[in-house]
Subunit: 246 residues, 2 copies
């Protein structure tokens, strides 16, 4: 059996997220597995680097699957792009070592969250940005972003109910840049908890609107109280940009 690694793009708008669901549901993983199973004539499982939530997009999701075929990676990619729906694409395919696993081998991820800071809608980007017309204090958000970085227990920034798994993660960088009416927040870290980027974003935006102080973030990292952190911002502004491997 060969192990094929692919890099995927998708627009998450009409999907119930990455992960396939019992009894159907329109998911990215479900679509990929159905297509590859048809291509190979036997069941194929697709491992993603992680689950993206319903509505979240990907510029560079990584996945791998084991198949028995004579097709070259280039041919597999062409076949997939021919039959995948128009909002999912394979932009790279290559042979991987037998042991490569897109989730277990990932060393980090980069996400981008796009905020349209304008009262005038942007028609062409509307599916990929979250509209925040309020004045946002860039300087305060950058300060807050710096405090959020580091190795911390991010329990206050996840929707996961108390479990046994560690909620400690390392956020290497949060870069905040303004391009015209748009503010882009780029998050790089070794891993992100369920809803973590979107709750960090809600917290940063509340700092930007002066609804909370940047300094408060330190307390959140200590207390771990989800109810004291910011709101969960909409999925549509979030894009998985890249999965890192060593």
């Amino acid at each position: 059996m060969r192990n094929i690694k692919v890099i995927l793009q998708y627009e998450g708008t009409r999907y119930q997220g990455w992960q396939k669901q019992e009894g159907g549901g329109n998911t990215i993983q479900g679509r990929l597995e159905a297509l590859l199973t048809k291509m190979c004539g036997s069941p194929v499982e697709v491992n993603g680097s992680g689950r993206t939530d319903a509505g979240v997009h990907a510029l560079g999701q990584t996945a791998n699957f084991h198949i028995d075929t004579d097709m070259t990676p280039e041919e597999i990619m062409r076949y997939m792009n021919e039959y995948l729906p128009e909002d999912i694409a394979v932009i790279q395919a290559q042979e991987a070592s037998a042991r490569f696993h897109s989730r277990l081998n990932a060393t980090g991820k980069t996400y981008c969250y796009r905020v349209l800071n304008s009262s005038v809608p942007h028609i062409f980007d509307r599916r990929y940005v979250y509209e925040v017309p309020e004045v946002l204090d860039m300087e305060a958000m950058c300060r807050a972003a710096d405090i959020l970085c580091g190795t911390h227990d991010y329990k206050a920034f996840t929707s996961t109910k108390k479990g046994k798994k560690s909620t400690v993660r390392t956020v290497e960088a949060i870069i905040v840049t303004r391009v015209g009416d748009e503010i882009r927040f780029t998050f790089k870290g070794n891993g992100f908890l369920y809803h973590m980027v979107r709750i960090m974003m809600g917290t940063l935006l509340e700092v930007g609107m002066h609804k909370r102080e940047a300094a408060q973030i330190k307390e959140l990292l200590t207390s771990g109280r989800r109810e004291e952190a910011g709101m969960l911002v909409p999925a549509k502004g979030l894009t998985l940009v890249e999965v890192h491997y060593s």
Copy 2:
């Protein structure tokens, strides 16, 4: 009655073009008139700078309408953006002189046609680009574009059946630029005939694929034979960028 000039953006994907149709139909003009008529309580007519075809987008369509209201242009814009569908937006509104007419006063227009020159789909731009995976000769297309410019009878480049109206137009510039996988064709002229940009595009692409010679274009401008010009390319790659006024 006040005369309000607006600049509009829209994604043409799900519309049957600009112009309202007898017996309904989903059109940009129809949507705008329905909304303004509701806002004013009496029928409002909206003049566009020109009709865009079904599927064609606009970054800067200009329109004007006469209304009787106390609202400021800013308030009109906000009202419209609140009630317009998410694929139509007003990005500017201002008081115009009583005689301003967005079509009759227009001195020129700029259109952009986007070609994705890659066999790998671009998920996020798929509604705005035409995919041409074939190798395209940039140099030949630039030469052909130069020949297409000037003041000519563009009869070979329109789908209009023979009528009494002049088919002479002035194309000031056709600029061809490559940005990564994308080739952008920008057309600037004093006016464009029905389907003119899309037939010029089809002809330029056939030159790029070496299916015809750049020099042949001179003959087309002389003969006026539509059947000898290139194919009509899909509407989705076309965007009305700006309407010019003196």
